[in-house]
């Protein structure tokens, strides 16, 4: 009997200890972090949430409900989405057509440059690297005019047609503009890509390169067979970074395309401006438009955010 009580006491003692333990600092810390994360997370998504619920509200629901409340029953509408889609959809393709190649080219060129400047022991590389880094800080408003003058002087249209491009079945007049955007974005993206790749390449074990040299590989083979495959995580980072930057870009497109005519190659950002410029500022349409515009980048982030997080290195 006494033994039983003693063991019961021991059990409760154990229980109490474990309760106390679960309230130790270590665990409290997790709880506090979780609470903070949830609160901040809610705040972080609130603009997006507010936007999305607004885009589904009728005008009257919009006026009568608070921004964060979902649209009340019967006051749900997809009208704003239709209107936004109508305005934006013709340009979406253009955006992707120049964003993807520019993203790939700037990434690859950045990787090449970083390799050339990292893996080979040449003293001038620091200076060249510095020019890349400084280039990242270029204020783009400042070079709009030189840029358009440059593309005016280079008759890309003429070059393409003399190459017979426009007789190809899939050719379209807008391709000249898109090509201009591709080259432009590539050129301005190289700086940041090189910087990102260089940071990564500095962490690659130099022994690998030396092993490859001893194995008989030359600089090109080393790049192709060793560095390039190892760059995969960094390419993910660079591609995501560049995709968002290029896709979201507005000024170069404004000046180089010069209009929101989709058949002239206008990207989605120009079309979105159309939604935002209304005489009567129509939040519903604007929010719907903002979301439709953001969809590709959001998809990219949700799908590949993990890789981005893994690949980033300062």
């Amino acid at each position: 009997m006494i033994g039983l009580i003693a063991s019961a006491q021991a059990t409760t003692g154990d229980l109490l200890t474990s309760v106390r333990e679960s309230l130790t600092r270590a665990n409290r810390k997790y709880t506090v972090a979780a609470i903070l994360a949830v609160l901040l997370g809610l705040f972080w998504v609130s603009p997006l949430w507010g936007g999305i619920s607004t885009a589904f509200k009728t005008q009257s629901a919009f006026i009568n409900t608070i921004p964060l409340s979902p649209p009340p029953a019967g006051e749900v509408t997809i009208q704003p989405w239709l209107r936004a889609w109508e305005t934006l959809s013709p340009s979406l393709g253009n955006s992707l057509i120049f964003t993807l190649p520019a993203m790939v080219f700037s990434g690859v060129l950045g990787s090449l440059a970083a390799y050339g400047l990292t893996m080979v022991d040449w003293r001038g590389q620091v200076a060249v690297m510095a020019t890349f880094i400084v280039a990242i800080f270029l204020p783009k408003q400042g070079i709009l005019l030189p840029l358009s003058r440059f593309w005016n002087a280079v008759d890309l249209q003429g070059i393409l047609s003399s190459l017979g491009y426009f007789s190809l079945p899939f050719a379209h007049q807008s391709h000249t503009t898109l090509l201009i955007l591709i080259i432009t974005h590539t050129a301005y993206g190289i700086g940041i890509c090189t910087l990102l790749f260089r940071g990564y390449y500095l962490t690659i074990d130099h022994d690998l390169v030396e092993a490859a040299r001893i194995d008989g590989a030359g600089v090109f083979s080393i790049y192709r067979n060793i560095i390039l495959p190892l760059s995969y995580p960094m390419f993910m980072v660079v591609f995501i970074f560049q995709f968002t930057q290029i896709y979201n870009e507005f000024l170069y497109a404004l000046i180089l395309v010069g209009g929101s005519d989709p058949s002239a190659g206008a990207p989605i950002t120009l079309a979105l401006a159309e939604l935002n410029s209304g005489f009567s500022q129509n939040w519903n349409n604007q929010m719907a438009g903002a979301f439709i515009t953001a969809v590709p980048t959001l998809i990219v982030y949700v799908l590949f955010g993990e890789q981005f997080a893994k690949g980033v290195k300062y």
Binding site: N152, G259, A273, Q281
Partner: protein, 421 residues
């Protein structure tokens, strides 16, 4: 309808050096594409623009219209695109712009064509003097370079009838901006609704308020003196002071609401008074269950009765022009009474011509039109007719500083400096 179709293709020869770059395919091919750039992508402007284009297509089915709007930035995006394209010698066929002094840089640079041949006769006869001056880029010595399409009046006051009555105000008795400020004070005192709806997010609304105050306190001549760059410090300062007084009665969110949202404060019951261009009527008409004369009213801004502060929209004629022939036809169409009728009604403006059938227009517009016949016309400072781009930007810069620091003296200096640029 436009009958002066005399100016044909041959006239493009007078632009001398640059000639016809031909890339637009004006001649030769069966159809011509007329590239139109504008920023009327929403509201009354969009409806009007559509009607305008439809009317043109009916008349000229062989001409295709490439509708290439550049929206956003309150027109700055379009400006940026056009500036750049003009500089490249690659302008569109024509674009929407504010005629008047706004075009002076282009005229100086010789990139706009003398289109006197289009105005000759019919248009010259039927256009009012104000728009004709704007067509000459605000200077009698210039040739005609643009076709103005519609006229907005800047100096208007709109109000919510029930609120005003509730506050016990007699609108008819207000004869100048000072009295208007007193009325605002009275409203503020009497009722909950904020007295003045004003957008202070961008400086142009305040600039037009100030310029109306200047006219209202003094007269059209003072305004013209200001435009001419004369030193009228005390008048400018007085108008600024009145403007600053009015700031006391603005809605709490004035600093961030856009101009359109500010207008909607009246139907929403969140504002009583609104000083705005008559385009604001478009928003008020559009508001459900908010009727003219029943719920809201309009009059010229206090003290500016008899003065018509003109803001026009129109189409300049660039040279070299990708489609001279089609552009000619577009200009003639825009200058026609029919075109102005189909456009101005939805846009909420009055036409530039005197011979337009206004029977379908709103009573308000009809009144405005009558006023216009008799009033002194002065060109706006807050938009394009009365100022060059540089002047306009400087005025707005000064005004945006004023909104932040309310420094009357410095602002007056900056405003007058701007007009000497």
């Amino acid at each position: 309808t436009g009958n002066g179709g005399s100016g044909d293709d041959g006239s493009s020869g007078d632009d001398g050096s640059s000639g016809d770059d031909g890339s637009g395919g004006d001649d030769g091919s069966g159809t011509t594409t007329l590239e139109l750039q504008h920023w009327w992508t929403d509201g009354g402007g969009a409806v009007g623009m559509e009607a305008l284009q439809e009317g043109f297509q009916e008349k000229h089915p062989d001409i295709e219209i490439n509708d290439n709007p550049v929206a956003g930035g309150g027109g700055t995006n379009l400006q940026a695109v056009i500036r750049n394209r003009v500089l490249e010698g690659n302008p569109p066929s024509t674009w929407q712009d504010w005629p008047g002094a706004n075009l002076s840089d282009y005229v100086e640079a010789g990139v706009l064509k003398d289109i006197g041949y289009i105005f000759e006769g019919d248009m010259e006869e039927n256009y009012r003097d104000g728009p004709l001056l704007s067509a000459r880029a605000g200077n009698e010595d210039n040739p005609y370079v643009a076709v103005p399409l519609n006229i907005h009046r800047v100096n208007n006051l709109f109000w919510d009838i029930s609120s005003v009555e509730e506050a016990g105000v007699d609108m008819g008795s207000i004869s100048d901006p000072n009295e208007y400020v007193e009325v605002l004070a009275q409203i503020d005192d009497q009722i909950e609704t904020p007295a003045l709806s004003l957008s202070m997010a961008a400086p142009w609304t305040v600039l037009q308020l100030w310029s109306s105050n200047l006219i209202g306190l003094y007269d059209a001549q003072t305004y013209q003196d200001f435009r001419a760059g004369e030193d009228i410090t005390s008048e400018v300062e007085a108008a600024l002071e009145v403007t600053a007084d009015q700031f006391e009665y603005v809605t709490p969110d004035a600093g961030s609401v856009g101009s359109d949202a500010a207008r909607l404060k009246l139907p929403e019951g969140n504002g009583v008074m609104l000083m705005e261009g008559d385009w604001a009527a478009g928003n008020l008409f559009a508001a459900d269950g908010y009727e003219y004369d029943e719920h809201w009213q309009h009059m010229p801004y206090p003290g500016t009765d008899g003065v018509y502060n003109i803001n026009t929209d129109g189409f300049p004629y660039p040279q070299p022009n990708p489609t001279p022939d089609a552009t000619d036809k577009w200009m003639q169409w825009v200058g026609s009474a029919e075109a102005q009728r189909v456009f101005c009604d939805p846009k909420g403006a009055i036409p530039c011509r005197t011979d337009v059938d206004l029977s379908e227009f709103s009573p308000l517009m009809q009144e405005q039109f009558e006023d216009f016949q008799s009033d002194t016309g002065v060109l706006t400072l807050a938009h394009g007719d009365g100022v060059s781009p540089q002047q306009g930007t400087s005025l707005k810069n000064a005004m945006s500083r004023f909104m932040d620091n309310r420094n009357v003296e410095a602002t007056a200096g900056a405003l007058m400096d701007a007009m000497t640029l």
